[in-house]
Amino acid sequence: MAKTTPLHDQHLALGAKMVDFSGWDMPLHYGSQVEEHHQVRREAGVFDVSHMTIVDVSGPDARSYLRHLLANDVARLDTQGRALYSPMLNEHGGVIDDLIVYLMTEPGVTGEWYRVVVNCATRDNDLSWMADCAVRFDVSLAEQPDLAMIAVQGPKARQLAASVLSESRARLIGQLKVFQGQESEGWFIARTGYTGEDGLEVMIPEEEALTFFQALVDAGVRPCGLGARDTLRLEAGLNLYGSDMDETVTPLQSNMGWTVAWEPQERSFIGREALERQRDGGVPSKLVGLVLEQRGVLRAHQTVVVDGLGEGEITSGTFSPTLGYSIALARVPAAADAEASVLVRGKTLPVKIVRPPFVRKGAQGHS
């Protein structure tokens, strides 16, 4: 029996084409994935992301535990509500998952606690890893399965969301900085997302989810499915766990070097030694963007050929609705630059190697 979110009936009523996503019955699209994509780039769309896993981390050792668990450093969170993107690594530096962690209190206060949002596909593995790593620390981990999560994304997302909410929530939405979240009347409202657009991710008691979702739709925010979510995140150059990185590669091989906090050097986090060895000894491969400027669509698992250097593989590929041509992320030999070719349905097509994001603020962002 597939798991469903509190908005499941609403998706069906809106005519969604449903798809299995890691055991959850989720909307793929509500008619046209491409139109949903455009709506998010131009105005606003709403996504049910209640399948995501929310874990609250509290206790006297919460900070030291997360500084050990994560490659990025929660000590960088200097104000209440600040968010940090981080990989969670194994001892070999392989990526167990990528996540967002919010500092829920003022930093350093008694009772300091954090909220961590991890992928649903990796939930079981993440929770057992986090529990195993917590043994030496005085922390408690509490999954929050009763919270729904609704993402409102697009240049008009905050304005439209504020228009359907109470005065105090609307005021908060106007004040939030990018990558910051705050609680308001029992909701946690964060200015984060997975589309490359401005917007919000709202964690909300599940019984209130439908009213909020419906109010957004009535205000002209278009319901969007996982299909548009995937093309939006890929245009924005955001990795998808399980496709673009997994336990067999490190952040340094995944265009995520910026998420590794090397300083302070005395901070010992899981995977640090392996990452340092790889950094000093040479990274064998890297994750790059590819652009195909002729007809055709790059897709995951197609082979990338880099003359003189060997082969690589596309990890995510799609047609970019915003750009009108195909884009991809690919893992290629570390020395690759500028040009490569891809085997697309029996033909060898030339592609340009670029640095993601492909789309920035609704327009071409790669050089």
Partner: protein, 129 residues
């Protein structure tokens, strides 16, 4: 339930064939096929004047989700292609039996039409899919 017009013939590979008279047919893909594919972003059609044979690959339909081969449901010479699909491939989704047509063929063997599926048979074929 997808739309399967009763006046058309169908191939098991989801192309439809409309008899335009005088040995000419137009060809496209069914509503069921476009629904499975999702948003179509490129259509690669056969060349004008090309000879196609029933069952052979005649083009490619690429959607955001997947690439799918297009098969010629009948044999003959390609006498027209829908050039509008170049700039507006979404017509395949919005109007699969009308403006989303792919190409027209002058039949070399009109008897091949008889071998195609009628709407009822095609409908049960879709249910088994």
């Amino acid at each position: 339930m997808s739309n399967i017009p009763s006046e058309l013939k169908y191939a098991a590979s989801h192309e439809w064939v409309r008899d335009e008279g005088e040995g000419v047919v137009s060809i496209g893909i069914s509503d069921h096929a476009q629904d499975l594919l999702g948003d179509v972003v490129f259509v690669e059609l056969p060349d004008l004047d090309a000879d196609v044979s029933a069952g052979d690959e005649a083009g490619v339909v690429e959607s955001v989700k997947a690439a799918s081969d297009l098969y010629a449901p009948v044999s003959g010479k390609v006498i027209a292609i829908n050039e509008e699909l170049e700039d507006a491939p979404e017509l395949v989704n919005s109007d699969p039996y009308g403006d989303g047509w792919f190409f027209k063929v002058k039949l070399s063997d009109p008897a091949e039409l008889e071998a195609l599926l009628d709407a009822d048979t095609y409908a049960s074929h879709c249910e088994e899919d």
